[in-house]
Symmetry: C2
Subunit: 347 residues, 2 copies
Amino acid sequence: KNILIVPGDGIGQEVTEVGKSVLVKIAEKFGHEFSYDEALMGHVAIEATGNPLPDETLEKMRNSDAILFGAVGHPKYDNDPTAKVRPEQGLLKMRKELGLYANLRPIKLFDELLGASSIKPEILKGSDILFFRELTGDIYFGEKGRKNDNNTAYDIAEYSRYEVERIGRKAFEAARTRGKRLMSVDKANVLETSRLWREVIQALAPEYPDVTVEHQFVDSAAMLLIKDPRRFDVVVTANLFGDILTDEASQIAGSMGMLASASVGDSTGVYEPIHGSAHDITGKGIANPLASVLSAALLLDISFGLKEESDAIIAAVDKLLKDGFRTKDISDSSTPAHLLLNTQSAG
Amino acid sequence: KNILIVPGDGIGQEVTEVGKSVLVKIAEKFGHEFSYDEALMGHVAIEATGNPLPDETLEKMRNSDAILFGAVGHPKYDNDPTAKVRPEQGLLKMRKELGLYANLRPIKLFDELLGASSIKPEILKGSDILFFRELTGDIYFGEKGRKNDNNTAYDIAEYSRYEVERIGRKAFEAARTRGKRLMSVDKANVLETSRLWREVIQALAPEYPDVTVEHQFVDSAAMLLIKDPRRFDVVVTANLFGDILTDEASQIAGSMGMLASASVGDSTGVYEPIHGSAHDITGKGIANPLASVLSAALLLDISFGLKEESDAIIAAVDKLLKDGFRTKDISDSSTPAHLLLNTQSAG
Ligand SMILES: CC(C)[C@H](C(=O)O)[C@@H](O)C(=O)O
Ligand SMILES: CC(C)[C@H](C(=O)O)[C@@H](O)C(=O)O
């Protein structure tokens, strides 16, 4: 099995190193042979080649069995809305080229972190949500541009039945293996893409009679996520709504630094933290590497079917938290200094 | 001064009655003469006339000095994505026809409700946010439809410089009178409309040197709102992002049932709760009328310049909460039964 490591930008570099080191240890412990290669993407790729997703990287991606990914982005482009080449273009192109239409974002709260969230423990306790975010359609990939002498900007959101159906099926199937509840989130009272979305999910429902389906508008879902997170089991939603809701939901897990994701579809899967490049903390050694470590666990489980190995990583994270070790994002004033981890030691 | 009452659907009917009764009392107490008229909108208007915003209603709206509005919507349409006539079309048409491009949503936590939120009191304490949601552009109003034999749906998001600038100026001006901090929320790393948005806000900033501007991506803003609500002062954002973020932010105030909004622009202002028609609790007498009461306070302040009268309403709400009165949405197990209000008695 060969694994491609794509650290990308900012803290992506730091955390992916830790994620990789965990894969190396697991292979050793369980007697697997993984080979590793590395490739550039994002701002670092623009600097080196002018292209946020060089052909060489894409080629390596296609030839790998799984990809451990970091993050892309740089404040330089964020502050210049007119920049023509941007790190995120590489990310979006990767998703499209590899057909990664399903982005799985499990929001699982480690018991030890019940107090780390800004939400009350009694509201949170027992929350366990699995998001299916559609990842290759919507307003992310429709035509966009300027008109009227550069005075008007537009973005086109688009969904086909086929696109909604394939992510819908994945979510229904996952719901079957969990709490048997599926929430589909849309804005069908305003958007035509959402009305198509709701039609398709409604049409699929009879095929999964054991799953209870609930439709929520995105504004209401954003509210309920904080008010009553236990109401959620499996959630399926469009690309943009999924982007917003999963970042919000990170607060249920205490910190974005704890959340891993899997992007899967037609071929090679990509595993990455949901946090971004976070240039404000880059190089300080304080980034939480656990999202990358947990991404490695997802990789072993989903792409390689190595459930035991994956569970071993999750158990190790659990133990580390039980032993009191914390990076800054999940610590509080009571954490003794000798248990404050830097990025490397957490690995 | 004449005030048009538009209760709309569901609990809109119940809460607007209370909001109106407060206006009547205030007029009496302060010696003003307000006249009232009433008009249909939403599902009730469809039932009566086939049109969610009858011409007669629109005519009355144009001729009034301010509008106290309830809510529109009905589950019947939500469950039928193919319905051609929908209550929400009336709402969107009203916003467009009256040029209500600025939707102000103050998120203010009454001290007495510090415990009612699912967010920890120590995170919430002192939060005070004013949202400016753009209300007549974006993906709400661009062309939408189906193609490829009804197999693909699309929605077009659009913004012009002019549209961003006028809402931007309102937000900058408000920031000046408050904490002098403005957060502009967009998704400029993906959307062209957001890049235009960011360009325009950046170009306005030098005219307001006393205001500190921060740009946040919408996913990050959705996360920060829960993690650190005090970081927010004035927020300006596009129509869709504003819809999602303000519903989410309602949890800062303890309940959606506490939040009023003002929609202003070229002519008559519209004042309404941010909660919807809530058919699940309609007719039970448990709807919290305070959002409508606080909408009446906003109406007096913004449309009529009656600050003292507006403050008197807010003080009355404060006293009612201090005296321990609660509707169900803001009560907890310690609320004695005789202080549990029904919708009418709260008025
Ligand atoms: C960096 C950005 C383009 C990306 C997205 O919006 O998809 C990120 O926020 C994510 O969630 O992976
Ligand atoms: C009812 C719906 C169309 C409306 C909106 O999305 O604007 C509502 O959610 C609101 O926030 O006023």
